[in-house]
């Protein structure tokens, strides 16, 4: 035999682990939070901003950010927006689910140390940022003043209301919430995040901004941050793309020679300024 069948170690990064949805919480009319665990407990320990591939075997697989974690489970807040997420929203506790990860770089924790932090999020964009907020609150001695600016379409669409209006303020976080359109019970600010941000007029000095939301919201928020004279190296964002492999091989999530799944999803604006950006 000219070639012999060598023993190959079998660890396929594209094959998920079997997990289970152990809890489903409704956040808004189209967002639910899923608690996922595996037989060995937590499938892996993600850093804030890292991603995981979730799959329903007979439906499909997609990439989600981990919004929080417990001792034995990971939490994903997921908006109903396509084939897989529609099916996930139909799933009950006890549903078997495929999970693989963690993927991506996560937030630059070292860069944030000792700084004042301004978290800006729109809609479901609060999900990845929440992992970072909770991480920083648990180590509040390492960070300066922390502030959240968050907006959603309507008061009903605000995610993580308990965090926004109870948990975070009680831990010393300044939380500013706006909605695009109020209702009879809403007495807070009304308007889009970028204009609300300009109204609040935060001081750029000593501050790192973390921004996440729909592409348009990010685009206009960056314009507002420019007006407020925030430096691009002090603004961090996390991107979403269609992804299949999660490991920089299947091709589709690239920005130039950078793979969002592998080298991202978190980038500073200064980094994005150097890339051919297709957002």
């Amino acid at each position: 035999m000219p070639a012999s069948a060598e023993k190959i170690q079998l660890v396929n990064p594209l094959v998920p682990e079997k997990g289970k949805i152990i809890k489903v919480l409704r956040e808004t009319p189209d967002v639910k939070t899923f608690h996922v665990t595996t037989a060995k407990g937590k499938p892996f320990v993600p850093m804030p901003g890292q991603l995981a591939m979730l799959s329903l075997f007979n439906i499909g697989e997609a990439m989600f950010s981990v919004t929080s974690q417990g001792e034995r489970h990971l939490e994903f807040s997921i908006k109903k927006t396509g084939l897989l997420t529609d099916a996930l929203h139909e799933a009950d506790e006890g549903q078997t689910i495929g999970i693989r990860g963690p993927y991506g770089n996560g937030f630059p924790l070292e860069m944030l140390k000792g700084k004042d932090l301004l978290f800006i999020a729109g809609g479901i964009g609060l999900a990845p940022v929440r992992s970072l907020i909770n991480f920083c609150l648990d180590r509040s001695g390492d960070y300066g003043r922390m502030q959240v600016i968050y907006g959603a379409r309507t008061p009903a669409d605000l995610c993580f209301k308990e965090d926004l209006f109870q948990n975070w303020p009680s831990q010393g976080l300044e939380v500013n919430v706006t909605v695009d359109q109020g209702d009879e019970n809403w007495s807070g600010p009304v308007g889009f995040v970028p204009s609300y941000l300009e109204e609040l007029n935060p001081e750029p000095e000593g501050k790192i901004v973390v921004v996440c939301g729909p592409p348009l919201m990010i685009k206009f928020t960056i314009q507002s941050l420019d007006k407020l004279k925030f430096e691009h190296k002090a603004v961090v964002t996390t991107l979403e793309k269609r992804m299949k492999c999660g490991i920089g091989k299947c091709g589709r999530c690239n920005l130039g020679s950078t793979y969002v799944c592998l080298d991202g999803p978190v980038f500073t604006l200064a980094q994005l300024d150097q890339m051919p950006v297709e957002l």
């Binding site: 190959i8 079998l10 094959v15 998920p16 075997f57 499909g60 299947c250 091709g251």
Partner: protein, 348 residues
């Protein structure tokens, strides 16, 4: 170094194929394909294959895992790569280089692809050096030596003093071909099948240059400044987005993961995908960061000529010429390069 008479090649392949699966370029209809070698088959020496032998290492579809569902419950059954040893005989240096490039994608970095790795480890590559290009060949422009054999286990080549080959008949009536081992696996074959080989003292026949030629100095750097340039809209206008360029490309490796479900069981498979297809980057909810042909076309050429170079230090093109031979709209990568070189850069 050894020599083998071309008349003995079919018997040599018969002998190899008795122990290991052999893929060889054979004629099928009007085209050449890599097919499992069978006694009586006829090697096609004259033209390169319609499709590269990429499929042998990175199959068009392959099952990753199977699953069973039982109500809410489910089980995953991972597939074993199970790559049987194989010999790819008669591939050209352009396609050999494409395997070196696939290696960079699938075998480097923190994540190794176990399916590709299993096949790659169990594959012997016998390259056939080119002495004469086809009209669409431009490997030398991209730094590929058509007689280089880099990454091959064995190199087969024509000899200097033989008359120019005009027809397949010359191979059938017998001519000496040089054979050189490049690796231990290659040595092993030469030793094991030594009865087919004679000792040899002649030089290889030189390569006559490609008619299609362009210089690539500064290309990647210039492209980096041309992201918003109007040439992408101009050239992509006639693209039909059929994806044939990506399908026949030896270096294209983008893939999709899809599922096939039947009742309470099914499987997930990986399959080739194309950056030219409209749903390639389409996200749930309808947003698409590359919404039109212009962005897809631009990404394809920038990936080949700039992005892969930035990431891995090489062009993701080996000059095999298949895409320009088969494009129904006559889009030609050498024309794109020409346009890029002529382009004036004002803004970004």
């Amino acid at each position: 170094m050894k020599a083998i008479n071309s008349i003995l090649i079919p018997q040599f392949l018969d002998a190899l194929a008795r122990e290991t699966a052999v893929l060889a370029p054979v004629k099928n209809g009007g085209d050449v394909y890599f097919r499992p070698w069978q006694p009586g088959a006829e090697i096609q020496w004259e033209q390169n294959s319609l499709l590269p032998p990429k499929n042998a290492l990175f199959p068009q579809t392959e099952v990753l895992y199977k699953y069973e569902l039982q109500g809410q419950d489910g089980e995953i059954h991972e597939e074993n790569p199970g790559a049987e040893p194989q010999i790819i005989f008669g591939l050209r240096n352009c396609d050999l280089q494409s395997i070196n490039l696939l290696d960079k994608t699938f075998l480097s970095g923190d994540y190794v692809d176990p399916f590709y790795q299993a096949r790659r480890k169990n594959t012997v590559l016998i390259v056939f050096n080119c002495h004469q290009p086809q009209l669409t060949c431009f490997c030398t422009s991209l730094g590929v030596d058509p007689q280089g054999g880099e990454g091959a286990d064995l190199v087969l080549y024509e000899l200097e003093r033989e008359p120019a080959v005009k027809s397949v008949m010359l191979y059938e009536t017998g001519r000496e071909l040089g054979m050189e081992a490049k690796t231990g696996k290659g040595e092993e074959i030469l030793k094991k099948y030594r009865d087919f080989f004679s000792d040899f003292g002649k030089k290889p026949r030189p390569f006559t240059s490609c008619t299609l030629h362009f210089k690539t100095e500064g290309l990647a750097e210039k492209l980096r400044k041309m992201f918003e340039h109007p040439i992408w809209a101009d050239i992509s206008r006639r693209c039909l987005a059929c994806g044939v360029c990506t399908y026949i490309c030896p270096t294209c490796h983008c893939f999709d993961i899809q599922g096939k479900n039947a009742g309470d069981q099914g499987y997930k498979y990986r399959c080739w995908d194309s950056c030219m297809f409209s749903d390639y980057t389409l996200m749930a909810g309808g947003h698409d960061p590359r919404p039109t042909k212009r962005e897809r076309f631009r990404n394809r050429f920038l990936h080949k000529l700039a992005y892969f170079m930035e990431r891995y230090g090489e062009f993701l093109c080996t000059g095999c010429g298949r895409c320009l031979a088969k494009c129904p709209a006559n889009i030609d990568i050498s024309y794109v390069v020409k346009k890029v070189k002529e382009a004036e850069i004002n803004a970004r």
